[in-house]
């Protein structure tokens, strides 16, 4: 069943002297429960694409169709996890996680009940009362994911959530991410510039072309889970993705 579809998304940006066409008609179909990894050269418009789906930015042409209906604004069924986490430093961890619930007017008790579940899932219970600066980068990323999951969205939009992590922490989260996906059966769009990451996580890897970007190729991934980053079976797949990516990166330089 098609959960989310984008049709001919075009996006221009004004730069000083000219108009930059960032997205040049992006068509993508995402099934319910898909885990789609998006890769592409730096600056090709991956973040912009996610932001358009989230409703944080308006496309110049094309439309985003969710459950068969076009959407144009933000909505609690499409929640984004930002690359920098964008946790609120003035709130404690638990209050960060409960933020969306509070905005929705859910009473305090109910809120803490829900947040407890996700803090648990993310192994953050001990840090519920900490401020965000007291967390390591990996822990912050987990809070950001918990904050998104709490909203119980149909679609989770993740923009390079692991880019700032060191290798050890990233390996850990790669495993956790797969578990979460299996547990919650969410539909996930996951942007990364790390090919190995895409191969480990995705049910499908979509490669963006250089600007004006389209989706150049979609590669299905069918290995059994949990997959590990070191997994030698994935090497071939990584090479395949890289082969698609390399000429685009060249063009972009």
């Amino acid at each position: 069943m098609t959960k989310l579809e984008t049709k001919g998304i075009v996006k221009f940006f004004k730069h000083d002297s000219h108009n930059l066409m960032a997205l040049g008609g992006v068509d993508l179909e995402v099934e319910d429960g898909d885990f789609v990894c998006l890769v592409g050269p730096s600056g090709c418009g991956k973040s912009t694409f996610l932001r358009i789906i989230a409703g944080l930015e308006k496309p110049d042409e094309g439309e985003v169709i969710f459950d068969g209906k076009p959407v144009t604004t933000t909505g609690p069924e499409r929640i984004m996890v930002f690359q920098e986490g964008a946790l609120f430093p003035w709130l404690k961890v638990q209050d960060n996680v409960e933020f969306g619930l509070k905005m929705a007017g859910i009473p305090k008790e109910k809120r803490s009940q829900i947040s407890k579940r996700y803090l648990d899932m993310m192994q953050l219970t001990k840090f519920a009362d900490s401020f965000t600066f007291q967390l390591s980068t990996g822990m912050k990323q987990r809070v950001a994911i918990a904050r998104a999951l709490v909203m119980d969205p149909d679609v989770l939009l993740m923009d390079e959530p692991f880019a700032a992590l060191d290798a050890q922490t990233r390996d850990l989260l790669l495993v956790e991410m797969q578990l979460i996906w299996e547990k919650t059966k969410k539909t996930i769009l996951f942007v990364t510039h790390n090919v190995a990451e895409a191969a480990v996580l995705g049910t499908k890897v979509a490669v963006f072309s250089n600007r004006p970007s389209k989706i150049k190729k979609q590669i299905p991934v069918n290995f059994k889970r949990p997959r590990l980053a070191e997994d030698e079976n994935l090497t071939g797949l990584q090479q395949e993705i890289l082969a698609e990516l390399r000429p685009e990166v060249k063009k972009s330089q």
């Binding site: 430093p89 003035w90 509070k102 905005m103 929705a104 401020f131 600066f133």
Partner: protein, 252 residues
């Protein structure tokens, strides 16, 4: 503060007072122009013993608090409006920048005309001198919020007033504090200046009396008091708030 620092500090102030006493005892300046620390201390003690000092301090502080409270409340509202509504920013905003550069003392003549020789007049001068600093800092603070915060909040369903109180104001708070601090500095200057010109109770009035009577030692005594109160507010209230916010933001 460790013992050596404390000792250094005490030594410094003792040397300062001794130097002062020496200069005043030498005949470089006549005594009525350059009083000795002893005379200043005597004046302070006298004003303290007849209660006029504490009454003056109390009056000034009360006016300051009311004026500053008005300035902060008004400044925040105006700052938020300017940051959220572009038309207000383009129109009233440009005026605010101008009003901000009118020294609060320049408002005194108008304040007397409009409010008479009343507390209201002094509070008006105090508040108007401080309000625009708060406004500008609130505005800058909101404009400088990491857009990711706002987007994340909108994405999670925050809207309207909720967005302002739950996200914009707390996120802009570190900036706003420096607005409050600047506001306090202007308010403090404003209240003393207004009292000096209104000559209507308070520390500024005592300063003016010293001046009217050519009593330099009273002038210096009141300046010391003004300075100590200023130091106390800066050092206790603002330092505390700043430290708290900074540490919560993980900056310290």
């Amino acid at each position: 503060m460790n013992k050596i620092t404390l000792a250094k500090k005490i030594a410094f102030y003792i040397i300062l007072v001794i130097l002062w006493q020496t200069i005043s005892m030498s005949d470089i300046w006549p005594n009525n122009i350059f009083p000795s620390p002893y005379e200043v201390g005597e004046d302070l003690a006298y004003m303290a013993s007849d209660g006029s000092l504490f009454f003056g301090i109390g009056t000034t502080i009360l006016r300051l608090i009311v004026g500053l409270a008005i300035a902060i409340a008004g400044g925040i509202v105006l700052g938020v409006l300017m940051a959220r509504i572009e038309t207000i920013n383009q129109t009233i905003g440009s005026l605010v920048l101008g009003l901000q550069s009118i020294p609060s003392i320049a408002w005194v003549p108008l304040a007397i005309l409009w409010f008479g020789l009343t507390d209201t007049g002094i509070i008006f001068v105090t508040a108007i001198g401080a309000m625009f600093a708060v406004t500008i800092n609130t505005y800058t603070g909101i404009k400088n919020i990491d857009p990711h915060y706002v987007e994340a909040a909108r994405n999670m369903g925050a809207k309207g007033t909720q967005l302002i109180t739950s996200v914009l104001l707390p996120a802009a708070f570190p900036y706003m504090i420096s607005g409050f601090k600047q506001g306090w500095a202007f308010a403090w200057r404003g209240v003393i200046g207004a009292e000096l010109l209104f000559s209507f109770l308070g520390l500024g009035f005592l300063l003016n009396v010293g001046r009217q009577l050519n009593d330099v030692s009273q002038v210096i005594a009141i300046m010391l008091v003004i300075m100590l109160i200023g130091m106390a507010v800066d050092g206790f209230i603002f330092k505390k708030i700043e430290n708290k916010v900074m540490s919560r933001w993980g900056l310290r």
